[in-house]
Symmetry: C2
């Protein structure tokens, strides 16, 4: 068994879920998000790339439907006791297997919540599911149910995030000596990811972002590596990950001589992040945090160079992305509360001058000011 | 620009697609699979974690709908010229933006193919899409269209796969010195992934699998690392990845003294793989390859310890999984043809004795016998 939380923690989570389900009058919940299954049971796999469902009844009892390759995985990593396997074969329809399972669980005609808003259920599988369930019971979208419970972190979870943040700091330390004229992006990436994995951490739910020269203006991973030139810019976005809990950081590191434009953009990014920190307090919304960032950008004439979001919640996430909901974007009414782990990234990409600047770190919200979860200073790094 | 293929290669792919669309009488195709976008245009991102669509018209013209964070990514990595951005905001419905775009493209009332069977379109987004399109045109599932074109690899793609296979071999070489009593799974994983990344390769579309002791019987990644004991078993499944093309390998490496059961299971795995190689020829189906493996397992009384699939196609894949279609499972009628890159994995997990044994490598199919794409021998590795 590789359970990363006490049984009491899982019991408490299940109890919170059962209360929520009762308030929504749900007889059962069909979990398809791997994040939900991991949170509720510890079940840890990338088997969600195929059809897989954890059925939770109103009394908190659970049955997992999955493929043979994940049978032992569920037994070794989770508290799930009942597991049903559907078999790969030509013309297999696992949604029909799920309907049969729901029937065996006496759920015919019942009210059933479904997680539709997850990469654990593709549009195709969603259609197969709806076809089976339309005459079986009353279904409704319950994608937000576990997601909202996951948003507030327990003390045990916060410990994981602190470990993750420490690994993120280690990754930056591993990268810095390699960032110089002639330095190879491939070596830098290997060193950063290596620091996290060698430290007992996990793969990130999306690739680390690394890009230099013109590609420093990108904020996604891509194939192909480059060597750094004398006066260069290197944008890095990465996360330490521990037991799947993420703590992300973002930096644009410069080599050689700093241009006036880079200096301006750095100051804007730093001021925006300071404004975001001030706004990241209970009483404000996620939209307020975005607005605090947008105001600084506007005051400096940088609106057209910023993105339409400046961060998001982090937690135990699975691929293809570590970006959790809610996000810092315009008008998001979700309230900031204590015990959230939030990543704020200031990203300024000036296509006119070809200059990139980014600055970001992960915070733990409290009753008042948020606590940054990184030991690194925010100074502009020049190598 | 970071284009990994010649313009002529992309032109040839587009021409093949246009012919297929014409045969199916499709006026447009909505691509949601990142694999399809990468194949057709080079577009390289994990931005498919949000709503994103590449519209291809019958004449081969294309427009990408994506978020602001991916605007430059598309420009830097692909041949796509027309890009429309949808904005994050409270209550945003990007499917409505897509409908407007299709309207601007004069596709009202037309016949539109949709990729529903992909992690690039969640069930939730699929529902939003169908709601917008039900009164707009005639939609049909075209998930298999680009997927089938991707299955046969061009000479330029095969070069990428050979580079990937070489990185996979490097990863095993990096791991072997660390596999011994007291060796740390974390260090082994860091060394293997580090070899691929430092060699200019990419992240795999799913995590490398590493598990020892009782967890050697698992065939998925999970968090949490262990140190090897004196007489131990370590199951590894990994891939070299180059420009997103995967070449996977699988091994169970033993430390110390080899049990009789391990020896028996190894011989079965090797004989099954040899039988699979014989079956992996034009004229046979993917189902025939599975049957060849299953017959060896049955003859040795191991049917209950094998999986229900023994491999699959590989190519340029994005998270959450490098497993492509078609797979080697019972009854799969898909025909083996030359120029496929196929991963065959023999997996025997004997829960009774607690013994694991795996053996797998990637092949290039030819007019006759498949070519193994690894320089490593198949001998049982004991450290």
């Amino acid at each position: 068994m590789a359970l990363h939380f006490d049984r009491a923690e899982f019991d408490a989570r299940r109890d919170r879920l059962v209360i929520e389900m009762s308030e929504r009058k749900l007889d059962a919940l069909l979990l398809f998000a791997q994040e939900s299954m991991y949170w509720l049971t510890g079940y840890d796999t990338f088997g969600f790339c195929f059809f897989q469902c954890l059925v939770v009844k109103a009394d908190g009892s659970m049955v997992l439907l999955t493929r043979s390759a994940d049978l032992r995985q569920a037994r070794h990593t989770s508290i799930i006791e009942d597991i049903v396997v559907w078999n790969d074969r030509h013309g297999a329809n696992p949604a029909a297997d799920l309907r049969n399972l729901l029937n065996d669980l006496d759920l015919l005609g019942c009210r059933i919540g479904v997680e539709y808003d997850t990469h654990g259920l593709t549009a195709k599988n969603g259609m197969l599911l709806d076809e089976q369930l339309k005459t079986f019971g009353k279904t409704e979208d319950a994608s937000d149910l576990v997601a909202r419970l996951r948003l507030l972190k327990s003390p045990a979870e916060i410990e994981k995030v602190r470990r993750a943040a420490s690994l993120a700091d280690d990754a930056l330390d591993a990268a810095l000596p390699l960032i110089k004229q002639g330095g190879d992006e491939a070596a830098i990436l290997a060193a950063m990811q290596g620091a996290v994995l060698a430290g007992g951490g996990d793969y990130p739910a999306n690739e680390f972002i690394i890009g230099s020269g013109p590609d420093a203006l990108l904020c996604r991973y891509k194939a192909g590596r480059r060597k750094l030139s004398k006066n260069d810019q290197l944008t890095l976005e990465w996360a330490g990950v521990y037991h799947h809990y993420h703590a992300a950081m973002m930096r644009t590191v410069l080599t050689g001589k700093v241009s006036r434009r880079h200096q301006e953009l750095y100051e804007a990014a730093r001021d925006a992040l300071m404004a975001v920190e001030k706004a990241m307090v209970p009483g404000n919304t996620f939209g307020d945090v975005f607005d605090a960032h947008a105001r600084v950008m506007e005051a400096r004439g940088l609106t057209r160079h910023r993105l339409n979001a400046c961060g998001y919640s982090l937690g135990a996430r699975f691929s293809p992305s570590w970006m959790d909901q809610p996000m810092f974007y315009s008008g998001n009414p979700e309230a900031i509360a204590p015990h959230m782990t939030l990543f704020a990234h200031m990203i300024i990409m000036d296509s006119d001058s070809g200059s990139a600047m980014t600055l970001g770190r992960t915070y733990l919200t409290t009753e008042s000011a948020p606590e940054p979860l990184s030991r690194h200073e925010l100074d502009l790094i020049i190598r």
